[in-house]
């Protein structure tokens, strides 16, 4: 009997060419990262159970899930609004552990849908990130309109994307994108294209520290 191994593959394994691309040679205007090894679960309150779901979430994560387009960062996960009475729980991948913990927490009060492989996570940052994003994202990302913690569900190149803003260690804006896995190769090319004139630093990071 042959040995069976189960390596994972990134949907960007061809599209993502690590390194400095585009104009200039100095610091890139745009930094684009694929975030690998993610866990993502859609949590949808059962009918009439929105309050109970929020309460259970608070107990598990230490924060209330957002009830408007926002992203709330907790110690073990980020909770991103994804519609009425539902949110996405985003965390480092941990085998089945994260989903199992949620299934336990929300048993009977919320339905779960595992999207860990259904979405591809990206980080866009750098001094020209917003200029590049203006080419494919209709959202107003101005500091006063889309501050840290703001989130939106929007259309990017005819497909749905979740966008939220966080900050890096230096406090600079990081735009987080969740896009459908099957679209990610196409979207990566488009985002990279949008960034080339500002200089692009492409790479990947792991959500697991």
């Amino acid at each position: 009997m042959p040995d069976f191994t189960w390596e994972t593959q990134s949907p960007l394994r061809k599209a993502l060419v690590v390194g400095r691309h585009g104009a200039g040679t100095g610091a890139a205007g745009v930094t684009l990262r694929e975030v690998r090894d993610i866990a993502l679960v859609q949590v949808m309150a059962r009918r009439g159970q929105a309050a109970a779901t929020a309460k259970a979430a608070k107990k598990l994560f230490g924060v209330e899930p957002p009830t408007s387009p926002k992203a709330v960062t907790a110690k073990t996960a980020t909770l991103i609004w994804s519609g009425a009475d539902q949110f996405l729980a985003f965390a480092p991948h941990s085998g089945d552990e994260f989903y199992a913990k949620l299934a336990d927490t929300f048993a009977g009060i919320a339905s779960l849908s595992d999207q860990s492989d259904g979405r591809c996570a990206l980080h866009i940052s750098g001094p020209r990130a917003r200029d590049a994003m203006a080419k494919f994202c209709a959202l107003d990302l101005h500091d006063t309109v889309f501050p840290v913690g703001a989130a939106a569900s929007t259309a990017i190149d005819h497909t749905n994307a979740s966008v939220w803003r966080s900050a890096d260690e230096a406090g600079e804006a990081v735009y987080n994108l969740l896009v459908f896995t099957s679209f990610s190769d196409s979207l990566w090319h488009m985002i990279a294209d949008a960034a080339l004139e500002y200089g692009l630093d492409a790479g990947h990071v792991s959500a697991v520290q």
Binding site: F4, A23, R47, G48, F180, F183, S186
Partner: protein, 1017 residues
């Protein structure tokens, strides 16, 4: 009264910064360049060529100003009559000076020389002439002009109709027209971008700057768009004094202050071309039109979609010509344009300039010429009464002032040589090489009318002013009919302050700047009635007599006038011709202009290249694509891909030595039928349906029942649209008491998901149901063929039972695979063979493909593509997209028996309509050719044997065809009238498109294993 100031302009001059004297050699070649002044950089000489002739200009020039500086008068031939034309204006309204820019793949026709910035090495050529601009054979059209009148094409080429396409149109297109396109792919990149603000200010003249400053100081987010390369609008050409300082100093201070405000963004070279619903504006930024070619990674142009809450339009006014014989000769220019060339570009358009004006503003050109040391041949002012200040200027400078009209212009291809002026009953000839004419100013109302706001007539300025503007738009300054500098500053400031306040800005806007309030007096003169061709629309060669002819022939409404004569329908959209044309029409009808009315404008205000509208989306990026989890694995095996919606799916996997797709597909089918194969089916839509009422929800959505489906089982389902027509099909599995997984066809995944969400949120909000798309979460493969179980035994953990008893047909459960991977296993079959679908999280898609290959190696497993998948489903008689065509009912598909009678479901009532139940409907059957060597093609029609093919005898058509490797001949599924009653009948198959006509037999659609034993084995 104002004039150009004596202060230092913004551009550098030879002496301004104390540097070495200018490049005398290049300046010396420029016969019409003034020694001083202008916003040009004399330290930066630029070489360029026009029609192969080398010339020089300076940074800051436009192509037009450089041509003026070099004394070039003739730059184009007109559209219809091939008349020699020159440069008429100095802005984007230019109708005549259209040139071909650049060469090779970057060649671009119909570029306005007045908006093209000069760069070193610029190559431009004239267009619409042969063999040369000076000797143009098609100028013979001008001699034939009596027949090229309004409505000429309608009148002449109406009959016979068939001659139009083949003879008339090509001949006319060769003779008429303007430049030629490159016929090569555009090598440049374009993109599109969004911008957001509270207040969008259009135009950066006195009005726009005042508005931007007022709004910006108040704290609003402001975007200021200017189509020119320089901020300043008419201030760059007219100078004047603002707040006690020279206008250009004021301009510098304001631009410095705006630049210091972080909430203000200035976008030069950006033309706002349209306003759309919801406060979105379209704008085109000419990012790199001013350089030979964009730097690497840079775009040529960028299309902006600007979302704003308020807008202030300070788009200024456009000077209008007077219609008189010969008014199109090279050297006849708009008076304000002459002023622009002198003041902004230090280029004198003539050695001896005559000015013909019916309003005060024309006198400012007289003043500019005198100030620059030019010679005034005469000033013709039909009003007779000249304002005192200008009378003094005339006296001081000894100018000849004639209270008359220009009745003729004489000259050749090199332009004006003399004009004839009628004063009372006497006429006189005056030698001149440049006639500056002004018929008054038309407020630039275009943006205000884009939502159908009709401009209204204002008698005092003899012009149309904005009517009802789109929501949130404030028209200000000259664009609103306030023609004086002071009024522009005042209304611009007020508009900016108001717009900012309406968006919630709380800061102080400060005070409006002030200027002396100039008078603007005008006595309308639209047309000089004298013999000779007098042009109204210069780009489309529409003359005054065309307008009056239209009136005589009954095309009196402004809309008819426009279409009958093509007035205002050229790329300049009649910016300087529309109002004049309808004034002449009003006169011909004996009505007032207000009664006659005006046409309105449509976007785009300025031409927008298709490339800019496409942006990133061209060539391989024409649309987004979706890749399956095993895509790169399949690509590495040499798979041929096909676009299925946005998906790229493996169509077949050719092996070395296979030269024909059919060869590969036959091999793949036989490998499955005789052994085992697998195919990536991840593209099928997958929707997680959860909640206590999930079963009830599915009962209402599908025609068959799901609430009683056992956990661990799958069932085929069919859903209807509200109108009773089949919407989609697929299997649904019950994974847990409150968890179903529904699959859709690849094509309908999106619409079905939307439909389900609609049902959940709108139709039955009382149900406890949660939906989530899981399509991209799973890598799913169909493994099919008699050796499937053998393969699975190698793949699954030894503890798993995949025997027929342990895992029966339509069973579903989670299994453990060797190597410690959990997977979902579904025993469903599309091919008619024993088959399973196996699903793992998408990140393991390639590993899954490799491991299936490994597990199936002893049994000769092959990957197969969508073609083999299609062949096997046709052999098995399964319906798919060609049969689920949006016109068929469940019964048409032979699936009517699935409909539950015990419950209600979407489409039930409507499916019972008489026509949908009619016995003579076309239903799905199989078709096999009588001559087994015959190839079938989909789309061929079915008619009864012996009938003459035609609409009356047509009984259906072949929907899906394939070559069946197991039967060794072509087969088809077809929709045939009363088909099920006609099994065994020989019919005639007609394909008039491919000229085929043969006989075939109607048969059962199930060609393969009709008992279904193989899939249950």
């Amino acid at each position: 009264m104002s004039g150009y100031t004596e202060t230092q302009p913004l551009g550098r001059t030879a002496t301004a910064d104390g540097r070495a004297s200018p490049d005398r050699s290049s300046a010396a070649n420029q016969s019409h360049r003034l020694a001083n002044g202008g916003l040009i950089d004399r330290q930066a000489p630029l070489q360029f060529s026009f029609d192969g002739k080398s010339m020089s200009g300076f940074a800051g020039d436009t192509l037009a100003s450089a041509l003026v500086a070099n004394g070039v008068k003739l730059v184009a031939r007109s559209f219809k009559y091939h008349r020699p034309r020159g440069i008429m204006t100095a802005g984007s309204e230019e109708p005549s000076a259209l040139v071909e820019m650049r060469t090779g793949a970057r060649k671009e026709a119909n570029t306005r020389a007045t908006t093209q910035e000069l760069y070193d090495g610029l190559v431009a050529s004239s267009q619409n002439r042969w063999p040369s601009l000076r000797r143009d054979f098609m100028a013979v059209n001008s001699l034939l002009s009596p027949i090229f009148v309004a409505g000429f094409y309608y009148k002449t080429f109406m009959w016979p109709a068939k001659f139009w396409e083949k003879l008339y149109e090509p001949a006319i297109r060769r003779a008429a027209g303007l430049g030629e396109t490159a016929h090569l792919p555009d090598p440049d990149h374009y993109d599109k971008a969004w911008a957001h603000c509270d207040v969008l200010v259009v135009g950066s003249g006195a009005t726009g700057l005042s508005a931007a400053l007022a709004a910006g100081r108040a704290g609003a987010r402001v975007i200021l768009c200017e189509e020119d390369s320089h901020i300043g609008g008419r201030l760059l050409s007219d100078g004047g004094e603002i707040d006690g300082m020279p206008a250009l100093d004021w301009l510098r201070r304001v631009t410095d202050e705006l630049a210091s405000l972080p909430n203000v963004r200035i976008m030069a070279r950006t033309a706002v071309f349209g306003v759309y619903d919801g406060g979105d504006f379209g704008a085109l930024e000419r990012v790199n039109d001013h350089v030979p070619q964009p730097a690497e990674h840079q775009v040529r142009q960028r299309l902006w979609r600007i979302a704003t809450r308020r807008s202030v339009v300070g788009a200024g006014a456009i000077e209008r010509p007077i219609v008189f014989p010969g008014n199109d000769r090279p050297g006849v220019m708009m008076a304000a344009a002459v002023r622009t060339y002198i003041n902004r570009f230090a280029a004198m358009p003539g050695k001896r300039i005559a000015v013909f004006t019916n309003n005060d503003d024309g006198w400012r050109t007289v003043e500019a010429v005198v100030r620059a040391g030019g010679e005034i041949a005469a000033v013709i002012d039909p009003r007779g009464k000249v304002p005192a200040a200008y009378r003094a200027l005339a006296d001081r400078s000894g100018l000849r002032v004639l209270p008359g009209q220009v009745v003729d212009v004489k000259g050749g291809v090199d332009g004006v040589r003399s004009i004839t002026v009628a004063t009372g009953s006497s006429t006189q000839n005056i030698d001149t090489d440049c006639l500056a004419a002004s018929g008054g100013w038309n407020p630039n109302v275009a943006l205000s009318s884009f939502h159908r706001g009709r401009p209204t007539w204002r008698e005092d300025i003899a012009a149309f002013v904005p009517g009802v503007s789109p929501p949130g738009m404030i028209m200000a300054g000259a664009a609103n009919g306030d023609l004086s500098l002071d009024a522009c500053l005042r209304t611009g400031h007020a508009a900016g302050a108001m717009a900012a306040a309406e968006t919630g800005a709380k800061g102080k806007s400060g005070n409006a700047a002030k200027a002396a309030d100039e008078a603007f007096a005008i006595q309308p003169l639209w047309q000089v009635k004298a013999k000779g061709k007098a042009f109204v629309d210069f780009q489309h060669d529409v003359t005054a007599s065309d307008v009056t002819l239209a009136q005589r022939e009954g095309f009196e409404s402004v809309e008819h006038l426009k279409r009958y004569t093509t007035l205002g329908m050229a790329t300049d959209q009649g910016k300087n011709s529309n109002v004049t044309g309808l004034a002449i029409m009003a006169d011909a009808r004996g009505r007032s202009i207000a009664e006659t009315g005006t046409t309105i404008y449509r976007p785009p205000y300025a031409p927008v290249a298709i490339g800019a509208l496409a942006g990133h989306h061209r060539d391989q990026n024409f649309h987004a694509w979706r890749l399956t989890p095993s895509h790169h694995w399949a690509a590495e095996r040499g798979a041929v891909f096909v676009d299925t919606g946005l998906w790229k799916r493996a169509q077949w996997f050719p092996l070395a030595g296979e030269t024909d797709w059919l060869q590969s597909v036959k091999r793949e089918v036989l490998a499955v039928r005789n052994g085992v194969g697998f195919c990536d089916v991840s593209t099928l839509g997958k929707v997680d349906v959860r909640g206590a009422d999930a079963g009830t929800f599915l009962d209402r959505v599908y025609i068959n029942g799901f609430s009683k489906l056992a956990v661990g089982k799958a069932r085929y389902g069919l859903m209807l649209r509200e109108d009773g027509i089949v919407m989609d099909d697929g299997t649904t599995s019950r994974l847990a008491e409150d968890h179903y997984l529904t699959t859709t066809t690849t094509a309908k995944a999106g619409p079905v998901t939307q439909h389900l969400e609609f049902c959940r949120q709108v139709l039955w909000p009382e149900l406890d149901v949660q939906l989530s798309s899981a399509t991209d979460q799973w890598a799913q493969f169909s493994i099919a063929g008699p050796r499937t179980r053998d393969l699975l035994i190698n793949l699954v953990d030894p503890s798993e039972d995949v025997s027929n008893e342990g895992f029966p047909f339509m069973g579903v459960r989670e299994v453990m695979l060797r190597g410690g991977m959990k997977a979902r296993l579904f025993r469903i079959s599309f091919s008619g063979e024993m088959a399973f679908e196996i699903a793992v999280p998408a990140r393991y898609g390639e590993a899954m493909a490799r491991n299936i290959m490994k597990a199936g190696e002893p049994f000769g497993v092959v990957p197969y593509g969508t073609e083999a998948l299609g062949v096997m489903r046709i052999e098995k008689g399964h319906v798919a997209g060609p049969e689920l065509n949006g016109m068929t009912t469940a019964s048409d598909l032979g699936l009517g028996g699935m409909a539950s009678k015990k419950k209600d479901f979407i489409g039930r009532i409507m499916a019972g309509r008489e026509a949908l139940m009619a016995p003579d409907r076309q239903v799905v059957v199989g078709i096999k050719p009588v001559d087994k060597a015959r190839r079938l093609r989909s789309g061929a029609h079915v008619v009864p044997k012996g009938a003459i093919p035609g609409p009356e005898t047509d009984q259906g058509y072949l929907t899906s065809v394939c070559f069946s490797p197991v039967l060794d001949h072509w087969i088809a599924l077809a929709l045939v009238e009363r088909g099920r009653e006609r099994i065994g009948e020989i019919v005639r198959i007609c394909d008039p498109l491919r000229n085929e006509d043969y006989e075939a037999e109607i048969c059962s659609p199930v060609f393969y294993d009709p008992e279904g034993g193989r899939q249950r084995a």
